[in-house]
């Protein structure tokens, strides 16, 4: 028998199921935050912001820089890092996408630009900081044991912070004037402009919000990991998958899609070896898109 395939007895283990389920919720929460961060931008602007990952890595490195060179306490440094993430997102919109939009660039042209930025920024960071691991703060989160299931206080913090942020974004989009302006631009950019809404400002807003969320995800990772120039590669892909799973354009859908992705990926460990688990994410996306091209909560195009 292939030793990498878990035995049926072990697969039936309720103990294993519970641990994987808890891991799946923690993982899925992070995925949900990533998915929402991407969808906030895409659903309003229609820009496939492939350079979204730069906010993740910039937040991490700026936070480290702020802590190391300015001597800021880690929480203050984290805030600086998140602000930098928002700034880089806005800079990409204002400095690259907007002029391209005005010049009549195609979606492919915008995508290629984003791709270039997503390659250039990590390389620039590698030149400036080197490829080595960079440590932000050495937290020692307490381990909590509930029977045989374990998780850390940092896991709890991640789950709480992420869902509070997701709820806040959903609330803001539905109940605030900024949110309504965003909805107006999303539905009809020209009509929104005709009633006095500046679509460019809305773009700045959503790039700022989406990049802030991505930056927060980067900092949450950094609290339990180290920064490397390529640290955003995987989270960026996850953000796309979660967004498409949930239904492209649906922010609530991206959150549910991210959570589902985390749970499916983790629970698949009941039956498949760990190195097959990343395949599960793409398989789930493929199957869903074949059955339901608009994703779980997306609307089918007319």
């Amino acid at each position: 028998m292939d030793a990498t395939i878990i035995s049926p007895v072990a697969a039936a283990s309720f103990e294993l199921f519970r641990q994987l389920a808890v891991d799946g919720v923690v993982l899925g929460t992070v995925y949900a935050l990533l998915g929402v961060s991407f969808t906030v931008i895409y659903s309003t602007t229609g820009i496939f912001h492939f350079a979204h990952g730069v906010a993740y890595v910039v937040a991490a490195y700026v936070a480290i820089l702020a802590a190391d060179t300015l001597g800021l306490p880690w929480i203050a440094a984290a805030v600086v890092g998140i602000a930098a993430a928002a700034a880089i997102g806005i800079l990409v919109e204002v400095g690259a996408y907007r002029p391209m939009r005005r010049a009549g660039a195609t979606a492919l042209g915008v995508f290629i630009t984003a791709l270039g930025i997503s390659i250039a920024v990590p390389n620039l960071i590698q030149i400036l900081f080197g490829p080595n691991n960079k440590t932000f703060v050495e937290l020692s989160p307490a381990t909590i044991e509930l029977g045989t299931v374990t998780f850390t206080t940092l896991d709890i913090a991640r789950v709480v912070i992420s869902w509070v942020l997701i709820a806040a974004v959903l609330f803001a989009l539905r109940r605030t004037k900024w949110g309504l302006a965003t909805a107006a631009v999303r539905m009809n950019r020209n009509m929104a402009a005709a009633v006095g809404i500046d679509p460019d400002r809305v773009h700045v807003l959503v790039f700022g919000v989406g990049s802030t969320l991505m930056g927060i995800a980067g900092i949450l990772f950094l609290l339990n990991g180290n920064a490397t120039p390529t640290m955003a590669a995987s989270p960026m892909l996850i953000a796309f998958i979660a967004a498409f799973l949930g239904g492209i354009g649906s922010i609530g859908g991206a959150a549910v899609g991210g959570l589902a992705l985390g749970l499916v990926t983790s629970l698949s460990g009941l039956w498949v070896a760990s190195d097959y688990q990343p395949v599960i994410a793409f398989a789930a996306l493929f199957v869903l898109l074949v059955i339901r091209p608009q994703g779980m909560f997306g609307r089918r195009a007319a």
């Binding site: 072990a10 620039l124 050495e138 004037k177 900024w178 180290n226 698949s268 990343p278």
Partner: protein, 458 residues
């Protein structure tokens, strides 16, 4: 209501355009500089990675080279240019490896030239953290454009993929990073590091059994990049031999470069393992150990690799595990090692690890081969002639082993194309400094784990 979003004019558009152009140029420069894979160095120079200040004949490290390898001059290859390629991970998760490996080689090239040896012209190809297509393309470029005579490669799968290319072009190649069984006994490819996973495993398991006699159920964790044989065959066969009642509780293979080990750890917990043998590399051991300890699992862990960079992920957690690996001791008394460490520290402000040491040493090996080929009246720019000289006499001065007055010696197996180097069981301090606690005295898949694999604990 929508005051904040009222339309603005288009003033400042020209300034913005200038900003975009400047930003675009900056990004383009960044891409080009860090990719490292597309350019080649000038004479006596290099490309990619950190540059090193040219060494002078009066430098202590250069004098040490002359003491060991003899005086410079025509017989030592002075005036000869050796085009030396390096196939490394210069970008991606493993960029750390590419950097330290290239630093080691560049330092050696600079010192050899100052010592009156050949002028090593180093070009670097980026395999982008083990991407086979990128590695094959980079090797093709180095062979066709840079006209390399020698190559230093890294990683397992990508190095296996380039074997036909180096054999066809007769490029003498050294592997100092990730030797695997698939790279053994291959013409023109010589492994200058013990086989990752396979070589230390019998000694590691013997030590584990001796130190933890109650640990019966072993969890195997690693990647399939270049430890497949150890994970699937070697460790499952050795563990029951060295531990009475020893069984394999679970085998978990993970992708390279992951940071989330949730499901791996859940399965280890469910398997009721008493100990873990790990064959991950890069940052993965750091994240793995951290996650294991955070899950409240305090069983013994023995790793197959230790690097200070991976240790940085969680030094406290790493101080609770051991590693069984080939290990370069920066405090070695060996005169070659001592001068290398001092020069490396001066050039790069950090201690060298075994990756830097191996790639430094490989340049010295080629220098020695150049001398031998010249002495025989051959062409030192002919990879086949260099390999023939290696086969004729596979012994070389080494940074490993030795004592205060004598450098160590490595001997390549002319059939298997492997090398034997000292291996240790290492304990790791809270500030990520490894120190040997036992010597592994017999290595490899054929080693008898029951006899004299590990010396008495120090």
């Amino acid at each position: 209501m929508f005051k904040q979003f009222t339309t603005r004019g288009t003033e400042g558009a020209q300034g913005l355009r200038r900003t975009i152009v400047a930003g675009g140029l900056a990004f383009a420069c960044a891409s080009g500089l860090a990719a490292c894979g597309g350019d080649s160095g000038g004479s006596g120079g290099s490309s990619g990675g950190s540059e090193v200040k040219a060494a002078a004949a009066s430098d202590p490290a250069v004098k040490a080279l002359n003491d060991v390898f003899g005086p410079g001059g025509k017989e030592a290859g002075e005036g000869v240019t050796i085009n030396n390629g390096m196939l490394l991970a210069m970008t991606g998760q493993g960029a750390y490896f590419g950097r330290v490996m290239s630093q080691g080689a560049k330092l050696a090239a600079s010192q050899v030239k100052a010592a009156g040896g050949p002028d090593f012209k180093i070009s670097i190809g980026d395999h982008e953290d083990g991407a086979i297509q990128a590695g094959v393309a980079a090797t093709r470029r180095m062979i066709s454009q840079d006209k390399i005579t020698t190559l230093q490669t890294s990683y397992g799968a990508v190095s296996e993929a380039i074997i036909p290319q180096i054999q066809q072009a007769k490029v003498l190649t050294f592997q100092g990073g990730g030797p695997s069984p698939g790279q053994v006994e291959k013409d023109f490819l010589w492994n200058n590091r013990m086989l990752f996973g396979d070589a230390p495993a019998p000694g590691a398991l013997t030590w584990l059994a001796k130190e933890h006699p109650d640990a019966k159920r072993l969890a195997i964790v690693g990647t399939s990049e270049n430890a497949t044989n150890a994970i699937k065959t070697l460790v499952p066969s050795v563990w029951p031999k060295v531990q009475d009642g020893g069984t394999i509780a679970t085998t978990q293979i993970h992708d390279v470069g992951v940071t989330d080990f949730g499901s791996v750890i859940a399965k280890i917990k469910a398997s009721k393992a008493d100990a873990i043998w790990n064959a991950s590399f890069g940052n993965d051991p750091g994240y793995f150990v951290k996650a294991v300890r955070q899950a409240g699992i305090d069983i013994p862990i023995i790793l197959s690799e230790f690097t200070s960079d991976a240790c940085k992920v969680d030094p406290k957690a790493m101080s609770s595990v051991h590693a069984a690996a080939d290990y370069f001791d920066p405090n070695s008394e060996n005169p070659l090692a001592r001068s290398f460490t001092e020069a490396y520290r001066a050039a790069y402000k950090s201690d060298p690890d075994f990756y830097a040491a191996n790639y430094y040493e490989q340049i010295l090996i080629v220098w020695e081969l150049v001398k031998r080929v010249i002495a025989e009246g051959g062409d030192p720019q002919d990879g086949a002639a260099l390999q023939a000289a290696l086969i004729k006499d596979p012994k070389f001065p080494s940074l490993y082993g030795g004592d205060r007055s004598t450098p160590g010696e490595i001997v390549f197996d002319p059939t298997l194309h492997t090398v034997t180097k000292p291996m240790n069981v290492l304990e790791i301090s809270g500030d990520c400094v490894p120190s040997p606690v036992a010597d592994i005295t017999a290595v490899g898949p054929d080693a008898d784990p029951k006899t004299a694999l590990v010396s008495a604990s120090r």
